[in-house]
């Protein structure tokens, strides 16, 4: 028989702490899933919409960067490169990654708390306001109202809307945990609960310290990067890991290898990640001790990262053949492997001697796409391939479209990473190269040297965009209930009948 989609063993970990564990039955799960249908589809669907919007902005920005006179010659302020680039970042961060992540989180919380979704009105209202907030924010950026603070470009009145939505989601999460079936709290639940509580705290603190009661001088930059790093580390990473911790065991039908590694990975991530922010300002005009503690904390990330990697790997051992058949598993494992890679890369970039080469170059942009795209976005795609059929009660219409989507994600993100990394290192080493006492290259030469790599990045972005359009089309068919009614999940290759 195929073990794909079997749903028996999750939570049966190597722990004696689960005395009251009971096997869920399919009817109960289907009832739980049905209760999440509208809210989760609202978040996933609107997230996907923002992904498409963000992709359009990304392509405009990418092509304009190596061809500055493209489209408007600078007469249309709404299409100015910096505004489009900022709109791209905010559309994918707050529109796509956060919204879809919340959707996946809501579904996981209902499943893992083993209670039907309570108070759906709270999350629906939050989702509507969140989308309104993102739409106003992006319009404001295009209209020239950006705050100019990276990752926090939405004007403060938009942040207030997002914060209001977010508080609703936090309250809802706590209520769900209150109503949960008693028993073991699974590792995915720790990550989700933590993320859903940390983020509003982080967001509010940062807006207060930068905009409402601004701190002096470079403290703004320290606060800015404390936020910028934590939004990755304490918001997107926990959601991505929660999803990986759920779907890898779920699809292969085996428990997570080790409960203790899960706990160690979680608490070391929580402790060290929050201290990383200062590594964005290495060499900058801030106290040296802040840079030093952040560098140390960055390198200490080796613990949570390798623990998670080992735990996932040992869970997968002997089951890698499911990667051939299961779309969810293939996206999730690609994401989980990218997580290991991006984290190891991030540690190395915090080491000063390497940071002096890569800082201020496109290498950093490659790093952030490896994190937010290859890691996080892939995992969310994988989760969506699993969740959506359970909400629309039909299966994905075409295995070939899923395949096309996967290979676009894989080759597109790999090409982007390679181009930006090589381009960035070229840029950084050219700056440092000296002939005698003088720089070997004029600054403009270093700008020019990046152009071939920027063109490569545009090609990569186009490949990713194709994948997004394919996925959106496929998702649309599912929403219209035009999927297959086979009752069997759509797999890349039908498993041999046994």
């Amino acid at each position: 028989m195929s073990a794909i989609g079997t749903e028996t063993t999750l939570g049966q970990e190597y722990s004696t702490a689960v005395p009251h564990y009971r096997i869920e039955d399919a009817a109960e799960r289907s009832e739980l899933d049905a209760s999440t249908r509208f809210p989760v589809l609202l978040y996933l669907g609107s997230g996907l919409f923002w992904l498409l919007v963000g992709t359009v902005f990304a392509l405009i920005a990418s092509f304009k960067l190596h061809n500055p006179q493209l489209f408007d010659g600078g007469t249309l302020s709404w299409l100015a490169w910096p505004r489009v680039r900022t709109a791209h970042l905010n559309a994918v961060i707050y529109g796509w990654a956060s919204t879809a992540g919340i959707g996946v989180g809501i579904w996981l919380i209902a499943r893992l708390c083993r209670t039907p979704l309570r108070y759906p009105a709270i999350v629906i209202v939050a989702g509507i306001f969140w989308n309104i907030g993102v739409a106003i924010g992006i319009t404001a950026i295009l209209a020239g109202q950006s705050t100019g603070v990276e990752w926090l470009e939405f004007p403060p009145y938009v942040a207030a809307i997002l914060f209001f939505s977010y508080i609703l989601i936090s309250i809802w999460t706590v209520l769900m945990f209150y109503y949960r079936e008693p028993g073991h709290i699974y590792v995915s639940q720790w990550y989700l609960l933590a993320a859903f509580i940390w983020f509003p705290w982080l967001y509010a603190t940062t807006y207060l310290l930068i905009f409402a009661y601004p701190v002096q001088g470079v403290l703004q930059a320290i606060t800015n990067w404390w936020y910028g790093h934590n939004v990755l580390g304490l918001w997107f990473t926990p959601i991505g890991l929660a999803s990986a911790y759920y779907f890898i065991p779920k699809v292969i039908g085996r428990p997570v290898y080790s409960y203790y590694l899960s706990a160690l990975g979680f608490w070391t991530l929580a402790f060290f990640y929050a201290w990383n922010g200062g590594h964005h300002l290495i060499g900058g005009p801030i106290p040296l001790w802040i840079q030093t503690v952040s560098i140390v904390a960055s390198v200490m990330m080796i613990i949570p990262v390798s623990v998670v990697a080992i735990n996932h790997h040992l869970t997968m051992t002997g089951n890698f053949h499911y990667l051939i058949t299961s779309p969810t598993l293939r996206f999730t494992v690609f994401g989980a492997m990218s997580y290991t890679l991006v984290s190891l890369q991030g540690m190395s970039m915090a080491i000063p001697s390497l940071n002096y080469i890569t800082h201020f170059t496109h290498y950093t942009i490659g790093h952030s796409h490896l994190g937010l795209y290859s890691f996080y976005t892939s995992i969310i795609f994988g989760a969506m391939y699993y969740i959506v059929p359970r909400l629309t009660e039909c299966e994905w219409p075409s295995a070939n479209l899923i395949k096309l989507h996967f290979w676009c994600v894989f080759y597109g993100s790999a090409l982007m990473f390679v181009c930006l990394s090589i381009g960035g290192i070229t840029q950084g080493t050219m700056w440092l190269t000296k002939s005698g006492e003088l720089p070997a290259f004029q600054f403009i030469d270093t700008v020019q040297s990046t152009i071939p790599y920027l063109i490569g990045r545009s090609v990569a972005g186009t490949i990713l965009a194709i994948g997004h359009v394919v996925f959106a089309y496929h998702f649309g068919l599912m929403i219209l209930r035009m999927g297959q009614r086979t009752g069997q999940p759509t797999l890349f290759i039908e498993p041999a009948k046994a």
Partner: protein, 205 residues
């Protein structure tokens, strides 16, 4: 790890530790730096004045920070000393700014002290209008939406761009002139105000 209060306490303490360490303690250390009083009774760094204050918002809204840093690092380990970007910057350099733009990318050069080497507003306006014409090979977008082309009424406007220095294709028809908007004037005033040529006790060079 099956009890919610334990989990909440853990979430709270881990997050709080970093907040105390990276936000609160630095606030005590460098949260209230004062400018140095110079011999002639002025301040280092000087407070921005006039339209440079408004220019800070134009710099923010138009995303200059995406390509330009405003921080010069130590000149031994990094390449920051070789392109004429001025001396290394320190925390006190930023206390007079309402919003700091340390930046993360150098698709273009550092601007921490750009006003010291490029102090001519006319050059800044022409460069913002057509960056490639004044810096061959530049990837900077044009900001000509901050300028307007208008009919010359009697006298040519005092702040009109010297169109003779622009390429043929950019010149307006006869009888018209290109003038900076309020935003463009503020932005250029801000750029020229970026000047770290004053000295500070903690800067040794």
């Amino acid at each position: 790890m099956n009890r919610l209060p334990t989990l909440f306490l853990g979430f709270f303490l881990t997050f709080l530790s970093a907040w105390l360490g990276l936000i609160l303690i630095p606030t005590f250390q460098i949260g209230a730096l004062k400018p140095e009083v110079t011999e002639d009774g002025g301040y280092s760094p000087p407070s921005p004045a006039g339209s440079a204050i408004a220019g800070e918002s134009v710099y923010a809204a138009n995303g200059c920070v995406l390509c330009h840093t405003q921080q010069v690092r130590n000149k031994i380990d990094t390449a920051d000393g070789q392109y004429g970007w001025g001396r290394q910057t320190v925390a006190r350099d930023y206390i007079a700014q309402r919003r700091v733009f340390l930046g993360t990318m150098r698709t273009g050069p550092d601007l921490a002290s750009t006003g010291a080497s490029k102090s001519d507003p006319a050059w800044h306006h022409l460069h913002l209008y057509n960056p490639q014409h004044f810096a061959t090979g530049s990837l900077m977008p044009s900001f000509r939406y901050l300028y307007k082309t208008q009919k010359i009424l009697g006298q040519r406007a005092a702040n009109a761009l010297d169109v003779a220095r622009l390429p043929e294709a950019d010149r307006p028809p006869a009888g018209y002139e290109i003038v900076p908007t309020r935003d463009a004037q503020d932005l250029v005033a801000y750029l020229i105000s970026l000047n770290r040529s004053y000295s500070l006790k903690e800067v040794k060079e």
